[in-house]
């Protein structure tokens, strides 16, 4: 398999250097851009497999770059943010970012997110049966098995899990989940989400209090990951 190509758009030279070394030594091909214009031009010339985008760019806000890129670029975009302001991150996710990391981040975490995001792009092409580390979700038959044993889910629980499975690795915001599973009228009814996430965890996690499939992104949303 070819080395995945990653484009880093960040105005901070130190962060660019750090990411360049980290990514190259982990078998990625890296290109660098320090402004929004440069980043968009590079993406158009050689579309990378994934973009790491700093949300606080000088010549254009990362949000505008994100919107512009998302009008035609379909591969994962991972957001870097210097402040942990939830609104900023939620806006980026709603504008089509797949995942986010807040500076300072640990290298291990960054690499895990990259692997997860790159894996999720391959799902769309494969069979209706998704296998997420022993959790098999058959989107055609609407059944779920864990380690070969059927898991009984209610209709809502299944809808929620299937939504997560189709977006493996991607952070899904509270609002997005409420709108997709319960409908636009339920966007502010986050208590439904809390209750059903807890129920779903009881059925699919080994220890519902220490979840390994459905992870919480505090104040933002949830995502389904393959435990590594």
């Amino acid at each position: 398999m070819n080395k995945p190509a990653i484009l880093v758009i960040d105005d901070e030279a130190q962060i660019r250097k750090l990411l360049e070394i980290t990514l190259q030594s982990n078998d990625y091909t890296v290109s660098l851009a320090e402004t929004a214009r440069q980043g968009i031009a590079l993406t158009a010339a050689h579309p990378p497999d994934l973009i790491i985008l700093d949300i606080g760019l000088p010549d254009d806000t990362g949000h505008n770059v994100l919107k512009e890129l998302r009008s035609w670029y379909t591969h994962p975009i991972l957001i870097l943010s210097a402040n942990s302001g939830e609104e900023d991150i939620i806006a980026a996710l709603d504008n089509g970012a797949n995942d986010y990391l807040v500076k300072p981040f640990r290298t291990g975490e960054l690499l895990a997110r990259l692997r997860s995001a790159l894996r999720s792009t391959t799902h769309e092409l494969s069979t209706p049966v998704l296998d997420i580390n022993g959790l098999q979700i058959d989107l055609a038959a609407r059944t779920v098995k864990k380690g070969g044993i059927p898991v009984k889910l209610t209709a809502t629980e299944y809808t929620l899990l299937a939504l997560f499975a189709r977006n493996e690795g991607k952070v899904l915001t509270h609002q997005y989940l409420l709108r997709e599973v319960w409908g636009p009228g339920y966007i502010s009814q986050s208590q439904y989400l809390r209750v059903f996430i807890a129920q779903l965890r009881k059925k699919i996690e080994d220890d519902p209090n220490r979840p390994t499939y459905i992870l919480t992104e505090s104040g933002i949303g949830y995502r389904l990951v393959s435990p590594e």
Binding site: P104, Q191, R194, V195, A198, Q199, T216, S218, G219
Partner: protein
Amino acid sequence: MQLLYSILSVGIVSVACHFLSEYMGYRVVAFVLLITVSLIAMFFDILPVLLTAILTALTWDYFFIPPHFTLQVASAEDGILLSMYFVIAMVNAVLTFKIRQAEKEVRRKEKRAGAVKLYNTLLNSLSHELRTPIATIIGAADNLQANNARLTPQHRHELINEISQAGLRLNQQVENLLNMSRLESGFVQPKKDWCDINEIVYDAVRHIETNGVSQHIHININPDIPLFRLDDGMLEQIIFNLLNNAVKYTPADTRIDIAAMCYTDVLQLTIEDNGPGFPEQAISRVFDKFYRLAESTPGGTGLGLSIVKGFTEAMGGRIALENRKEGGAKFTINIPAETSYLKNLKNE
């Protein structure tokens, strides 16, 4: 406004004196009026006080000194009394006012001195807390750069580890300072949403445990605890800081218990340990900004617990600290909040 109140008080006191003058004689009235001037001087500005002094002198003369309802004075004795009354009332007014001015000045100076002291404590604490990890990073990096060939793999590994630890410590300090300045700005509005307490507590514990913990943390939450409408970020920070405090300042193998309970629309969180507890005289001060126990180990800004208190109060709650009878410290937090059980949803 104060002028109006002054005139009004003089009026009321005069009417009262008018009814009493039959029993006490008009000269006693002068003293009652003087007391009025003194009282007003204790609370009002100089202008209303002077006005009161003049008004009472005129009132006394016009209504009480015979002949009544004229400004004339019949006897020479009363003339002297009236002049003396006028002088005493004026002196009284001015002196009281001056004393109050002096007191104000002293208070202002004390406040300023307090602010300067707090600022110095802040700077001392900050420069130490920020410079130590910075010194570590610069020193370790220099060492790796200059002595790379001579360092044993073991030493190289240790230096890199020091850089990483220092970075984490710096990040923690910055996080604390940002939270504190948010609280200080007074604009902290809790973003209330439905919170799964179980999830928040386990997340905070996992967060603490990733940094390595030598104590034993036990969690006790009723699985049927309702959802609470609170700020999840603040709650997690509160729990994290309290656990962090317990982990930092109790010996290895200490037992730390964290529990969450629901009393009619109140969330109660308790975090207790069987460590050494707090010195009794420190208990009332541990939530103060930059307060640190005299004998405590270095590596804290003294902000953690004041942030806990700030966030708790921002959500309308209260926090208390006590030493347990059987030894160790116990923090209790009570926060009123809307609750939701949603049990009817279970089979949807």
